[in-house]
Symmetry: C2
C-alpha cells in the first residue's frame, strides 16, 4: 500500500469511527494527517470524552481499517469513486465549513460542522467542476403541488442556463428539483445521507440512476452506510457549502430544509426563499426565515436566483451586492438638483436652481458633479438634461 | 357668517380650486390661514403657474365660495359633517404628511402629498378616536380568492382585537377587509376618492351604508365630487398617514396599492406585505416591495400585524423593536456557560465548567452574572438550572 493509499484509507476509516463534521477529528487531520489521526484515535487518545467513547464503541464492533478497505472494494464494484482533498476534483468551497459558526448552536449537529473528510461519487463528471456553478434547491418532503411545481420550474430554469442543481434525495421538493433539471437535459447532483448503494428512499431508486447517468450521486458515507436520521442534518451543511447559493422552496416551521438555509447564511452564501400562500403550512418555514433573517432574500423565480448567485459568477464578475448606483452616493443638494430635472426635457441653469431650491453657484457646482457621474448631460445650447436611462443605469447592473 | 365659518368655507373652496395635497396651497394655509389663501388664489396670485391656471380654469366654471356653501348644505342633507384641523376630532397623524418625501418622486401625485385641508365624514364615531388604533388593509381590485380570503381574515382579526380597519372602497381586497371587520362587529373606515354621496363603485353602495352605520365613510372631496382616476392615488396618502400601519394583501406590479405602502414607508410607519404564490400575478407587487424595500415587513396574519403596529400601541408601550433579550448582551463565555445548562435539570458548578469548556472561576463568575440577569437560578442543593422559560422571556415581550 502506498503512503497515499494509506492516507485515503485512513480518511474512510475516520468517517466510520466518527460522524463527518466532527470538529476535533477534522482539526487533527489538518494538523497531523489522516493516518496519524486514525492511529491516535484507535489508541484511545481522542481529545474528547464523547469521541473516545464513540471510537471505543465502533472498534468493539470491527476493525476500522478493514471496514474501510471493504468499503473501497464495494465502491469499485458499484462504479463509485472516493474523492479526497488531495484529488484534483475536490470541491474547495466545502473547506469554508471550517469557519462556519451557527448562532445559538447547541445541538451536536449545529456544532460539529467541519468540512467533509472525503466524498463518495457516482457519475462521470468531475466533482469540482460540476459544483463550481451550482445552486441548491431544498425543501419539504411533504411538498404541496404548488411547491413541487415551483421546484421543478427552478430545476428546469437553472439547468437550462447551465447551472448545476444540487439537492438531497428525498421525495417532494428534492425530487421535483432534480426532475426539472433532468427534463432540461442539465446536470443535477443528489447529495445523499447514506451509502451510494442504498438508495433512500427506495422509491427514488430509478431517479438516482438517472441522476448518476447525467449528473452525480454524492455522499460522505461509505457504501453500505445506513440513512440514520441525524445524517440528513449532518449532510445539509455540505449542500449549503458546495453550492453558490441555496433556495428554499417549501418547508414547515424549523425543518431540515430551513436548517440548510441557515447554514448558507452562516457561510455568507446567498440564502433565498420562495414565498407561498400564508394559508399553507408548507410555507411557514420559509416565511419565518424571511421574517427573522435579514440576509435571507425573497425570490420568485430563476431570474431572481441568478441575480443572487450570478454575483460571484462563473465569469468572475465582481461581487455586486455592495455595488451602488452613482446616485446613491449623492449629497442632499445634488439629489435635489438631480430631481429638479424633468424627465424629458432640458432646463437652463436658472430654472434648475429655482426648481431645486438652491442658489445658482450651488446648482452649477452640483451640475458639474452630476455631469462627471454621467447622470446629467449638458446640451450644446447650454441646457441641462438627465442622461437617458439606458446610459445612466449602465453602471448599476452586475455584468 | 362667523370667522370660523368663513375659514371652514374657505377650506372647502380650496379643495375645489386645487386637488388635496397641493403643497403650495397647504403651505399658504399654514402661513396665512384658509380665507386669506382663498382670497390670494382667487385674485390670481397663486405662487405657481400650474396652480394659477388650475384656479383660473375653476373660477371660470363657478364661484368657489358658492360651490363650497352648496357642498356644506348638501353634506348636511346627507348626514355628513365637515371636519377641519380646528375640530377636536381632527386626526393629528395626517399632519405628518407635511414631511413626507417620496424617493424618485416625479409624478405630481408623488410630489403633492401635503396633509388634507378638511375631511367629510359620515358615521357616528369621532374621526380621531376611530383612527387612533387603526390598520390599513389595501390591495388589488382584481383580487384572487386567496387574497380575498386573507383580507377577510385580517379584517376580522383586527376588528376582533378592537383595531379599526381602514381601506378604500374598491372591490377585491378593500371590500374583503371591510366585510371581515363588519363580520367581527368591529369598526371599519372607508376612505373614498369622491363625494360621500357618490358611492363608487356603485356595486358597493350597500357596503358603504353598512360601513357608515357601524364605522365611518371619509373623503377629502366634497359631496358631488367625481371619482376621477388621479384622486385614488391622491387619497392613498391619507390611508397611509391616518393609520398605524399598512398591510398590502395582493397587488399587481407597481399598482396603486403598492403606492400606498410606499407612502407608509415614507412616513416611517409599519409597511407590511402578505406574500402569496409566486405563480400568481396578484402577488408580484407585494413580492417586489419585499425585495426592494428593506423596511417592508413580511406578515402572514393578524398576529404579525399586531406585532408591528402594537409597538407604538394604544397602551403607549415603549417601542420594542430595539428591545433585546438579556441573553443578546452576553459575552462569549457567559453564552457558553448558559448553553452548557441542560433544558430540564440542574448541574453542579464543576459539571457546568466542564461542559462549557471554561475554568471553575470563570464558570462561577458567569453563573453569578446569569443569576443577576435572572437567566439562571441557583437551587437550594447548590445546583444551577435555567430559569423556567416563562420567567426568562418576560422582559422580551412588548407589553
Amino acid at each position: 500500500m502506498t503512503a497515499t493509499d494509506e492516507q485515503r484509507l485512513a480518511r474512510v476509516a475516520l468517517t466510520w469511527l466518527a460522524e463527518p463534521g466532527t470538529r476535533s477529528v477534522h482539526a487533527l487531520v489538518e494538523r497531523i494527517g489522516p493516518a496519524a489521526t486514525l492511529d491516535l484515535l484507535l489508541a484511545g487518545d481522542a481529545p474528547e470524552r464523547t469521541l473516545r467513547s464513540a471510537v471505543a464503541a465502533r472498534t468493539a464492533a470491527g476493525d476500522a481499517r478493514r471496514v474501510a478497505a471493504e468499503a473501497l472494494a464495494r465502491a469499485e464494484r458499484l462504479g463509485a469513486r472516493l474523492v479526497t482533498p488531495e484529488d484534483d476534483e475536490w470541491p474547495a468551497p466545502v473547506g469554508e465549513l471550517r469557519r462556519l459558526v451557527l448562532p445559538d448552536a447547541a445541538r451536536r449537529v449545529d456544532v460539529e460542522t467541519d468540512p467533509p473528510l472525503c466524498f463518495w461519487v457516482r457519475g462521470g463528471w468531475p466533482l469540482d467542476e460540476t459544483l463550481a456553478r451550482s445552486v441548491a434547491v431544498v425543501g419539504a418532503r411533504a411538498a404541496t403541488p404548488y411547491g413541487s411545481h415551483v421546484a421543478t420550474e427552478l430545476g428546469y430554469g437553472l439547468a437550462d442556463r447551465e447551472w448545476t442543481v444540487v439537492s438531497g434525495g428525498a421525495f417532494g421538493i428534492d425530487s421535483a428539483a432534480h426532475r426539472g433539471a433532468l427534463t432540461a437535459g442539465g446536470r443535477t447532483v443528489a447529495v445523499l445521507a447514506c451509502g451510494l448503494d442504498r438508495p433512500y428512499p427506495m422509491g427514488n431508486a430509478a431517479l438516482f440512476d438517472r441522476i448518476a447517468e447525467t449528473g452525480l450521486l454524492v455522499s460522505e458515507w461509505m457504501p453500505g452506510a445506513e440513512p440514520l436520521r441525524p445524517r440528513f442534518l449532518i449532510r445539509n451543511r455540505v449542500i449549503a457549502a458546495a453550492t453558490r447559493g441555496t433556495v428554499l422552496v417549501e418547508a414547515a416551521a424549523r425543518s431540515g430544509a430551513t436548517q440548510t438555509l441557515n447554514r448558507a447564511l452562516g457561510l455568507g452564501r446567498p440564502a433565498m426563499v420562495v414565498p407561498g400562500p400564508v394559508t399553507s403550512a408548507m410555507s411557514v418555514g420559509g416565511h419565518e426565515v424571511l421574517r427573522e433573517r435579514p440576509y435571507a432574500r425573497l425570490v420568485t423565480g430563476v431570474a431572481h436566483v441568478l441575480e443572487e448567485v450570478g454575483r460571484i459568477g462563473y465569469d468572475l464578475a465582481p461581487p455586486a451586492r455592495a455595488a451602488e448606483r452613482p446616485r446613491d452616493r449623492l449629497d442632499d443638494e445634488a439629489t435635489q438638483v438631480l430631481e429638479a430635472l424633468p424627465r424629458r426635457r432640458a432646463l437652463d441653469l436658472e430654472s434648475v436652481a429655482a426648481r431645486a431650491g438652491v442658489d445658482l453657484r450651488t446648482a452649477m457646482r452640483k451640475l458639474s458633479m452630476l455631469e462627471e457621474l454621467e447622470l446629467v448631460v449638458r446640451r450644446s445650447d447650454g441646457g441641462y438634461a438627465l442622461t437617458p436611462p439606458d446610459a445612466a443605469e449602465r453602471g448599476r447592473r452586475p455584468s
